[in-house]
Each structure stands twice: as C-alpha cells, then as structure tokens.
C-alpha cells in the first residue's frame, strides 16, 4: 500500500521527506541543547518577550534550514567542487570550534618552532625507522607463517600472538624497564622504536600473510614450471602482486603507528606528544599545545595518505585495460 503511494506520487513524497528531514534535524539540535543566546542579538524584537525555550527552538530551526539550503547548493556543484566545498566548510567549523577555546596564538607562535624542530623530527625519526623495521619483520613473519616447518610456524605464531595481545603501552614499559633487568641497558628512543616495530610487525605479519595467500596458486605453479626457485617466485611473482592487496591496510597501519608513537612519550622521549604536554604545563596553556600537536599529527597523516595513494596507483597500473 505504502509502496504504491510512494511510487505513484514521487514528487510529493520527495517534498514530505525533505520537510520531515528538516524537522528531525531541528529536533535533534534542540535536544542536543543548542544555545539560543545569539538569537536575541540578531533579532532584538524577539529578545523582550521570547522565553529562552523559544530562542532555542528558533535557533534549532534556523540551523536545520541552513543545513538544508547548504545541502541543496552543494548539490548543484560538480563532484570535485563538492568534495572541496565540504572539506572547506568542515574545516571552517573545526577552526571555529578551536577558536571558541579562546586560544593564545602568541603562545602557540612562540612554541611551535621548537615543537617542529624537536618534536616533529623525533616523531618522524621514530616512526620511519619503526615502519622500516616492522615491514622487514612482517615480510619474514608472513613467510614463516606460511612455512610447512612446524618450528618456524611455531616461532612466528607465538610472536604475532604475544605482540598483538599485549597493549603497546605495556610493551614500551616492559622493553624500557625490563631489558635492563637482564643486562641490556636500552635508551628511551631505541626502546620506543623496538616496541613499535615489534608490535606493528606483528599486525603487519598478518596483513602480509593474507596478501600473499590471496595470490592464486596458479601463479606459483606457472613460475615453478618455468624453473623459478621458491625465493625467485616469492620476490618476482607473488610479492609484487600481493602488494596491491597489502598496501591499503599497511598504509592504515603506518598512520596508526605515527600516532601511536605518541605513547613513547611515557618514557621521556622528546617527541610531539611529550613536548606538547611539557611546553604547555609551565604557563597553564595545555589546550593550545594539545591542539597544535593534534594538527601536526593530522598534517603528517595526510602526508602518509598521499604517499599511500601514489604507491597504490603504481601497483595498480597493470590492471588498467
């Protein structure tokens, strides 16, 4: 019955959906407790008699209408401009949100130099080295996990199970505080790199294994029949194809690792997170430093996203018809 109605009067149904949508958004905004204080400033006439209740309702409706108009206007743009416009609007809202904290920009300007020369450099150093080591571990781990040899499989599966199972924070503490107990005194940065590499190596082992297993058996047979040895087959035939499957989740891991490197701050490494906390402490400007650090992490992540897209393009080139 309803289906027939919807199909018979598409235009009317469309309008009803729009109106209901606006009402629902307005109600949501109202119940989220949107503030109506500014309504009085814009519409002085309302200020005298309207109750605060009324002001909130009006605010909610106005915002809902603005969203609807915005949606409609965005709909008229071509796709690339739509994406750009949405990014610009959301970014503006984000800035507005930060602006509402009443930040001291002079304080940020004063500290950001050191945050970058010391913090970003250290974070990048730790991340890049850890990523490189983790990739090697993952490759070895994945091949070991696919091994028919029980000893090798046992080693690899114990490793992935342990390091995926312990919280990264715990691993950092255990390596930094525990290794000296057995006679290896280890610096804070090497401890951090070791923990990150081992932890992410374990996650990436599974990604690499799944990627290698996703390549059809015929590829190995084709290579074997041509006389290729197993290591040739792996590095010339299987891995280059597996890369296409491996790269997107690996890119994810790299971005996660970049941010997880902030955990290394607990052992006193002067990376972004540590500096953000300590620089803000002295003058009670915590939020300034934390927001600046967040933005830096975001920028670095965007950099990684771009690199990932480039690499994906490279390994996807043979699939274009």
């Amino acid at each position: 019955m309803i289906a027939t109605l919807i199909l018979s009067y598409p235009k009317m149904v469309n309008r009803i959906v729009v109106v209901v949508g606006i009402v629902v958004v307005a109600m949501l905004l109202y119940f989220m407790g949107v503030s109506g204080a500014w309504v009085g400033d814009v519409f002085p006439a309302l200020q005298a008699e309207a109750s605060p209740q009324m002001a909130r309702i009006i605010t909610a409706i106005i915002i809902a209408l603005l969203i609807a108009v915005n949606w409609k206007l965005l709909g008229m743009l071509p796709r690339t401009y739509q994406i750009g416009a949405v990014w610009a609007e959301l970014f503006a809202l984000l800035l507005l949100f930060f602006y509402s904290f009443d930040l001291s920009f002079t304080f940020i300007a004063k500290k950001i130099g050191f945050l970058i020369t010391q913090g970003v450099v250290t974070t990048l150093y730790i991340s890049v080295v850890s990523i490189a080591i983790a990739t090697v571990i993952a490759l070895v781990g994945a091949i070991a996990k696919l091994s028919k040899n029980g000893v090798i499989y046992g080693l690899a599966s114990f490793y992935t199970s342990l390091f995926r199972g312990l919280p990264l924070l715990m691993q950092i503490y255990i390596i930094y505080l525990g290794l000296p107990q057995v006679g290896y005194v280890i610096g804070a940065i090497p401890a951090g790199i070791l923990a990150l590499s081992l932890c992410y190596g374990a996650y990436m082992t599974e990604i690499f294994r799944a990627g290698i297993e996703s390549i059809p058996k015929g590829q190995t047979e084709g290579a074997t029949a041509l006389g290729l040895r197993p290591n040739h087959t792996m590095f010339l035939v299987i891995l280059p194809q597996a890369m296409r499957v491996i790269i997107p989740p690996t890119g994810n891991q790299f971005i996660a690792m970049l941010k997880d490197s902030s955990l290394v701050s607990v052992v006193g490494v002067w990376e972004i997170m540590y500096l953000a906390r300590t620089l803000g402490q002295k003058e009670f400007r915590h939020i300034e430093m934390l927001i600046t650090a967040s933005m830096i992490y975001w920028l670095l992540s965007i950099g990684l996203e771009i690199i990932q897209a480039r690499i994906e393009q490279h390994f996807g080139r043979s699939l274009k018809r």
Partner: protein
Amino acid sequence: MSKAAHLATGIEMEGVHKWFGSFHALDDINLAIRPRERVVICGPSGSGKSTLIRCINRLETHEQGRIVVDGIELTHDERRIDKIRREVGMVFQHFNLFPHLTILENLILAPVWIRKMPKKHAVEVAMHFLERVRISEQASKYPVQLSGGQQQRVAIARALCMRPKVMLFDEPTSALDPEMVKEVLDTMVSLADDGMTMLCVTHEMGFARQVADRVIFMDRGRVLEEAKPADFFDNPKNERSRLFLSQILH
C-alpha cells in the same frame, strides 16, 4: 646408468603411483615417450591425466616408481628437479601469466633470472617467439588487455623462451571461448610440425587426429588404452574408452 638407453627416451615412467590422501590418483603408470613424439592424453575428469603430466615437472610428487626425463631421474634432489624443469615447458588451462608484468616481461623473466641470459639477448629471443605465435605487436601490453586466446599463445611463447626439449599442455583450450580455440591449436600444430616432444592433455579430438603419434586413454588413475589416433578413434578396444568417445563425439 647406461647412457645409450636414455638417449632413446624423452620421458620414461615405470610403475608410478600417486595418492591424494586415500585417493589413488595414479595407479601403476608405465609410459615411454620418445624424443619428438607427440602424445595426447584423454579421459574423463578426475582420471589422473593432469596429475600424470604434473608429475613430470614435479608440480606433483610421485610416491612410488621411477620417472626419468631426458636421462635425469626425478628424485628429491633439488638440483635434478631444477634441471628437469629447465628442459620441460608447461602450458596451463588458465594460462598463469603474471598479471603485474607486461607480455615481454613475462617472457624474459625466467631466461634472465634462471638462464642468466643478458637482458638484450632475452628480449631478442622473446620477440622471436612472440612473432612465432603472431602476437609481437602486443609485447608492451599487460595480460588483462589481451583476449584468452592471445594470453594462451603468450603462455606458449613464454614456455618456449626457456628452450625446452619437452612441452606439457594441461587442457590448454578448456578455458577458452570457442572462437579462440583454433588460434591456440594452430600454434600447437606448428610447434608439433617443428618436432617438439609434446604431451597434451586435451579433449580436442581433431587436434589429436591431426598431430598425435599416439593417444593414451586414462581412467581412475590407470592407462587403459594406448593406440595410434586412427585406431583409437575408429576402433577403440577398451569398453571404457568406447563409452568415453561416444560421450564426447556426438
């Protein structure tokens, strides 16, 4: 090991057995294939045809008996296996081209890495064989850009680049659209005319009649009949082969 005895033999199988779990895939296979001989193997699915030829280049391991290829006996010795694989080319049902490499790169991979051929020379050899399968203008394309028939011809050229003495074909036309079967069979016929030792698992009976010196019929892991194509098709002796032929030749 008497050398003279092996010279006369391309491939020799003696009492070969193979099991997959409890399934008896090859049951006492005895075969001798002379150099330059063209043999077609047919039989119902699951009869062990593919397993038989896959044992020859050790894609499957035989569990009993003796396999000698070009005078080298197949054992667990890796060096022998490598040697035999260099002498034996194989073409698969699903081509198994490497999709991340161009056609030319597919062809020169093994010659460069295994035969240690200089790249320039390998490219010359590759282009020679691409011309032979009449597809040299596609050299810089990727496999997905080619039709099934073209891909299979590339696969044949790829195997030939290693200059094998024996070629194994595992149902090379089964995965092709009907209109592409002929171009692949033509390539195989011209290969046969050049005197290549060939072992083909195929149901293309026209091809078998045209080029085969011998047809081998298998069922349940056993060789049930061996005959010249004319005898096999016109006067099959075995009950099972008669039934099989009546089912595939309408």
